[in-house]
């Protein structure tokens, strides 16, 4: 039977099932196949903090959304065009994410009365007309998988576990994607378990064949490759890009990487990844707590390593005192905060941007710390290198403010070559740097570089540079303990001036305003780049001119920040918090910027941003 083939410019697919159904794996696999076809894409894994909540319940639902297209894709899509629901709980929890009229693929085998009751359905939504607004495809996924695998010597329960591969095969057919990448993946994953390997391949193939033959699908879709700059690409997650950026910074600075870390969602994957790369001389130290993790990293920095600690907001709270010590010692240190919903334990698996002020001010005393924020999963790579550049050049702790959305999301990445990456010079102290009045040459640990105001980094093992440093205030130059009032005032101002001076080496804030006629500026930071850019493009398509700037350096701000925000009639600041960047901009530049704020643990939807921007742009 030949089916109609329809071309789409983009599609958003959402996979939803029990935590144990393998939806993240299914989504990842569809994503890497799609990436390999040259589509641009953005992903959004949406899963609970519980590892395996009871099967079939709403808290146990795990979802994965993928938006791919023939042009640059900036968001996972406000609403999915296709929803795959593996059971009633997945349907109930995710139906609101499917656009009206969208395709709903439902595993009918799981829609028994007990399963329906468990999630509070009084009647079967597949039969009661409540899904009339959608294009429903009822599919007996489980039983067809079991049927396809009856030749295998395995229990029915084990056979059922391959139903995600059946679903994947079906979706791959529906969107004209090849099976080979998944077969290759299964070979690698189950190579040592021949029965499971064969069963999964069979289920995948059966899903594909079902798509081809069933009358439930009258149409097959194609999405052509996106036009992207030439080069070699791979698909990459934010946490992986962060880990690679750190390894790259280690190689380009010649400083061995030392990670001190304590497991915490959603940052642990960086620890997992770095612990694999001992070949690069990477040392990972899983500490007894967050405090020891950063303490060990700081000790490693003192030793001349690239000291790094990874965590999320609750961990930053515990590390604060040691960050203050790093400010006082003036040693390089990278603190990676993969932000999640707060306060306290908050929403461990959900995203938020509410640690900005914690990073800015969450220490005792005047303790300025530079802050860098990546704007997309692949951008985590460059942002990590930039954090390392600042830390090493200026002898200072630096925050890298990632978040759950960029950390777990994925996108295609134009792979750089090592040679194209910046070289970072540690410039360790090698000898005396000061001559006393009597002509004696001495080493002063707090005699600064006049340009950067950075102090010398003198690592143990160098004769003649023996010195003592600590958290007590130090005399300018000598570094000896000093309680002198004027000296303290000078040192506080000098540490601030050092951090402020970083702006001289930071690219000016780039404003995206193709028409040059915009009167309204939308300014965001970090992971909101995609949704804000998407909203601005859509508004321009509607004839509304808006400018967009995404802040990467949050401390210090780029030197043109004030000029930029003062040159627009309206400045709107969307953030996934209650207005933290907004507060900083208003305080520093006395500009009446307007916040647009959501704290739902989810990235912004394009339409909501468009509505908010329109409202501001059209008033007054």
């Amino acid at each position: 039977m030949s089916k109609e083939v329809v071309e789409l410019d983009h599609v958003s697919i959402r996979f939803a099932g029990d935590s144990g159904d393998g939806m993240q794996l299914t989504g990842d696999q569809f994503t890497s196949t799609t990436a390999g076809l040259g589509n641009d894409l953005t992903t959004f894994p949406d899963f609970p903090a519980e590892i395996r909540a009871p099967a079939g319940t709403l808290p146990g639902v795990s979802a994965f959304q993928l938006n791919f297209g023939d042009h640059d894709i900036l968001t996972p899509g406000d609403f999915a065009d296709v929803l795959v629901a593996m059971n009633p709980a997945a349907l109930k929890a995710n139906l609101k994410e499917l656009r009206k009229g969208g395709d709903l693929l439902v595993n009918t085998d799981e829609f028994g009365s007990r399963a329906l009751t468990k999630v509070g359905y009084d009647s079967n939504p597949l039969e009661d007309g409540s899904l009339d607004g959608y294009n429903v495809h009822p599919i007996a996924l489980t039983s067809m998988t079991v049927e396809a695998l009856k030749e295998f010597d395995m229990t029915k329960k084990d056979a059922e576990r391959a139903k995600n591969m059946f679903a994947l095969g079906m979706l791959l057919w529906l969107f004209s994607r090849p099976l080979e990448p998944t077969i290759k993946f299964l070979d690698a994953k189950f190579g040592k378990k021949p029965t499971i390997l064969a069963a999964n391949k069979k289920a995948l193939q059966a899903g594909w064949s079902f798509g081809e033959t069933t009358e439930s699908f009258s149409t097959q879709f194609v999405v052509k490759p996106a036009s992207m700059p030439a080069g070699t690409y791979r698909n990459i997650h934010g946490n992986l890009a962060t880990a690679y950026g750190l390894i790259a910074a280690s190689k380009r600075s010649g400083l061995p990487l030392f990670l001190g870390s304590y497991p915490i969602t959603p940052a642990s994957d960086i620890l997992h990844e770095l612990s694999k790369h001992k070949g690069f001389g990477v040392r990972t130290f899983q500490a007894e707590d967050e405090i020891a993790a950063i303490g060990a990293a700081l000790g490693a920095s003192y030793a001349g390593m690239l000291g790094i600690t990874t965590t999320s907001g609750p961990g930053v709270a515990l590390k604060s005192e040691t960050i203050g010590l790093a400010v006082a010692l003036e040693l390089p240190l990278i603190i990676i905060d993969v932000q999640r919903g707060g306060p306290s334990t908050g929403l461990p698996t959900k995203t938020e941007q509410a640690d900005l002020l914690q990073a800015m001010f969450g220490r005792n005393g005047e303790a300025p710390v530079p802050i860098v924020a990546p704007q997309s999963p692949a951008d985590c790579f460059n942002a990590a290198i930039e954090a390392a550049r600042i830390a090493i050049t200026y002898r200072t702790p630096v925050f890298l403010l990632s978040d759950g959305y960029v950390a777990n999301g994925a996108e295609p990445w134009l792979i750089p070559t090592e040679d194209s990456l910046p070289v970072i010079e540690p410039k360790f102290a090698t000898g005396p740097n000061h001559i006393l009045e009597d002509g004696t040459e001495v080493f002063w640990p707090f005699k600064r570089d006049p340009e950067t105001l950075a102090r010398p980094w003198a690592i143990p093992g160098v004769a003649g540079l023996e010195h003592r440093i600590g958290g007590i205030e130090k005399q300018d130059g000598t570094g000896n303990i000093s309680y002198d009032p004027a000296n303290h005032d000078f040192m506080v101002r000098t540490r601030q001036a050092k951090v402020d001076g970083i702006a001289k080496t930071v690219a000016p804030l780039l404003v995206d305003d193709p028409s040059g006629a915009a009167k309204t500026l939308v300014i965001g930071w970090g992971s909101t780049y995609g949704p804000i850019q998407d909203a601005c493009r859509n508004l321009r398509d509607e004839g509304i001119q808006v400018a967009h700037a995404q802040v990467r350096h949050l401390n210090p701000f780029p030197s043109n920040m004030g000029d930029v925000i003062k040159s627009y009639d309206k400045v709107i600041v969307p953030e996934m918090n209650l207005g933290q960047l907004n507060m900083l901009l208003r305080a520093k530049y006395l500009v009446d910027t307007i916040g647009f704020n959501q704290v739902r643990g989810l990235p912004f939807k394009t339409q909501e941003l468009m509505d908010a921007i329109k409202e501001v742009a059209s008033h007054g």
Partner: protein, 350 residues
């Protein structure tokens, strides 16, 4: 020059003679007159030349408290860090640089109260650190509150009608935390203190040395019975590996194994020679060393052992960490960044 200490095999040897003077800094020492810290500082400075390693390869790391000012007075590299965290910072340092001799200086509040967690984990990991725990049973720098080693009922500024905190014994804690080297000494006995430092330097891994130290301002004479020539020999048990544990001014007291398996103290005259315990610091099972830590009376200090309680071999954390890196690099060569970034699944856009 001493033979190379086992724990310092990777630390560059000095080729110039050193003396205690070389380890003094130009900084004015700011402890109270009469503080036990002076004696410890002098003993450590006097011992350092024995290490036989380059001065620039020695680092002292401390936390917060009176004792933690120690690094400022040692002409080596030094970090005066934050309260309780010295073992964590020193761990990162030691794991990064096997060519360094790393010493931690801490006190009973710093190591056992605010930093208790880091201390026990450093001990179980067996990082190559030598931890000097100055125990004066009081908070000094905050001017006289009870510490985790203060006697129950102690009257202090924060416990005007007596502390209801029950103290713990630092060495019992250390042994429970899988420490491989545990020792005790006393500030006023320089010869003994240096003998313990020597044993610690020989030990590969974490060494915890509790030093009974007098705070003459807030808790004067805390260890008086162990210092007073009239009483000290009768209450102090000097441990020597391989020797029968006999003590007392007249060598008339001894440690015996009791019928229930625990250790006790008896008069030599009342027991047969084979009942007297022989000290075995190398015993694999820590329960013998633990039993020794339980002999002393926390208030009278009667029957308090000093010396090396436990000294056993176990692979150090950093040696194992280095080994994993060596194996990885031998198997696949030093990391190739371009290959890493490429990964296994790429596509070309032309």
């Amino acid at each position: 020059m001493a033979e190379t200490f086992a724990s310092l095999s990777l630390v560059p040897k000095t080729d110039v003679p050193q003396s205690a003077k070389d380890f003094k800094t130009d900084q004015e020492v700011r402890w109270c007159p009469g503080c036990g810290d002076y004696a410890i500082l002098a003993a450590v400075q006097g011992f350092m030349p024995e290490l036989g390693v380059k001065r620039e390869n020695i680092v002292f790391v401390s936390g917060i408290g009176c004792s933690s000012r120690f690094p400022y007075y040692m002409n080596t590299y030094g970090v005066h860090s934050i309260h309780g965290r010295a073992p964590a910072i020193a761990s990162g340092l030691a794991l990064s640089r096997p060519d360094l001799s790393v010493w931690v200086v801490t006190g009973d509040g710093d190591a056992l109260s605010i930093g208790g967690n880091h201390l026990i984990h450093a001990l179980r990991r067996n990082v190559n650190l030598k931890i000097l725990l100055f125990n004066n049973r009081i908070y000094g720098l905050t001017k006289g509150q009870f510490s985790p080693t203060s006697e129950a009922g102690k009257i202090t500024k924060s416990s005007p009608v007596g502390s209801v905190d029950y103290p713990f014994n630092p060495l019992s804690v250390a042994l429970g935390a899988e420490a491989t080297f545990v020792a005790r000494t006393i500030d006023s006995d320089r010869q003994h203190l240096q003998s313990v430092l020597r044993a610690a330097a020989e030990h590969e891994g974490t060494a915890l040395i509790e030093i009974y130290q007098n705070c003459d301002i807030f808790n004067d004479n805390a260890w008086e019975p162990m210092k007073n020539p009239e009483t000290r020999d009768d209450i102090t048990i000097r441990l020597n590996h391989g020797e029968k544990i006999i003590f007392g001014a007249n060598n008339d007291r001894c440690v015996i194994r009791k019928a229930d398996g625990s250790l006790g103290v008896a008069n030599v005259a009342n027991v047969s020679a084979d009942q007297i315990v022989t000290h075995d610091a190398h015993a694999t099972d820590p329960s013998f060393a633990f039993a020794l830590t339980r002999l002393s009376h926390p208030e009278t200090l009667q029957d308090t052992p000093i010396g090396v309680f436990r000294d056993v071999k176990r692979a150090t954390y950093e040696a194992q960490m280095r080994e994993q890196i060596t194996v990885a690099q031998a198997a696949a060569g030093a990391g190739d960044l371009d290959a890493l970034l490429q990964g296994k699944d790429t596509w070309e856009v032309r």
